[in-house]
Symmetry: C2
Subunit: 219 residues, 2 copies
């Protein structure tokens, strides 16, 4: 008995979230959500499971079942936060530029999106998840993200209209696809299709090429 308690006391805080949380359901729920996000950001969806989240949150997995109804509910909760992502991560102003044409706008948006994605590991993991699995979980996640993104695009567009004769929806989807894959690929292996993407200089090159592409279609 003495041994047991001694061992327990000697153990380091079991998990980063542990702290001495008192009986506070709200706080615990938040801790779980934060742990889930952090875990997903850092480890990816491979090792994302009830046990891992519980460990990270420093609580029993039973609580995840109770409060979120299992992993699905937890993922859904993560998805709910996605709507605010764009608002939080992407500046709404024009950076002091005058965006006179649709081309101006899309160039700026493309670069903003690129930056935001590069800076947000959680978002990257979710995008990677989206193209790797096709479960209900992921589908819902993808939808949240897609909706938030398109709302942002719509909001920023204002009254600017794309050039006639260009299928802007399709072109923009391709641009977004390019950006997402570029960032994912860089994040995973430091390069994409032979193009190094590590240093700031590498990224400048990529950004320049991206601008050129946008200008090519939209003028």
């Amino acid at each position: 008995m003495l041994n047991e308690s001694a061992v327990l006391e000697a153990l380091p805080q079991a998990a980063s979230e542990a702290e001495k949380r008192v009986r506070d359901r709200g706080a615990t729920e938040k801790a779980i959500l934060r742990a889930a996000k952090a875990l997903l950001s850092e480890e990816g969806f491979q090792n994302f499971g009830i046990n891992a989240v519980a460990r990270r949150a420093g609580c029993d997995k039973q609580l995840i079942y109770r409060y979120y109804g299992g992993l699905n509910g937890l993922v859904e909760a993560i998805g709910s936060d996605l709507g605010t992502w764009v608002r939080d991560r992407i500046p709404e102003d024009t950076g002091g530029m005058f965006l006179l044409t649709y081309g101006d706008l899309m160039e700026r948006l493309a670069l903003l999106f690129l930056e935001a994605l590069r800076d947000d590991p959680l978002m990257r993991r979710i995008v990677a998840w989206e193209v790797s699995e096709n479960t209900e979980q992921v589908r819902r996640l993808a939808e949240s993200r897609s909706k938030a993104l398109s709302q942002w695009l719509e909001r920023m567009k204002g009254s600017l209209a794309p050039p006639k004769g260009v299928d802007a929806a399709a072109v923009n989807a391709i641009l977004i696809a390019a950006i997402q894959h570029l960032v994912l690929s860089a994040s995973a292996g430091g390069q994409c299709a032979g193009l190094a993407l590590k240093t700031a200089k590498d990224w400048e090159k990529a950004a320049t090429a991206l601008k050129r592409i946008v200008r090519g279609v939209y003028g």
Copy 2:
């Protein structure tokens, strides 16, 4: 005892590869490799493991350790085949077209690559794997693929040169990224960034937009 044998006989072939393989190491090796590829194509890398491959191949997992030195070796064997992928899946001729400019060429190559990727589930899974994990396994796989792809590009390029002042390497990397993500996204959820990618008509739209983008940069 009687029960046992009866049950065994009543069971369907445990795995699709089973057949009545006689003691033939070469054949078994091939069966394992085929099983691995099929499994990866159909299930993705999530459930790709020693046990699953062995089940699918209808043999004991021990043989995978013996013949390939474990999963790593097996994946490497899959990677070795990747060099021939481009040769096998992408037509080398110009489809009766005259490719006079770099723009002509890249438009054609982009569409060829898009088609080839859409038609090859294994390749899609590997690309998805590449952006989702960063293990030695995947890195080697990615390198094989990248090398094969760049060799193909080089070979097809011939003497055509990109327009001055354009960083073709960067632009092409972005184009490839776009194509890959487009196909992956479609394969996973039937759409990409809000653009539906299910019917042939959907894909025509995407192809048209892609052509427009290529023409925009390369003329």
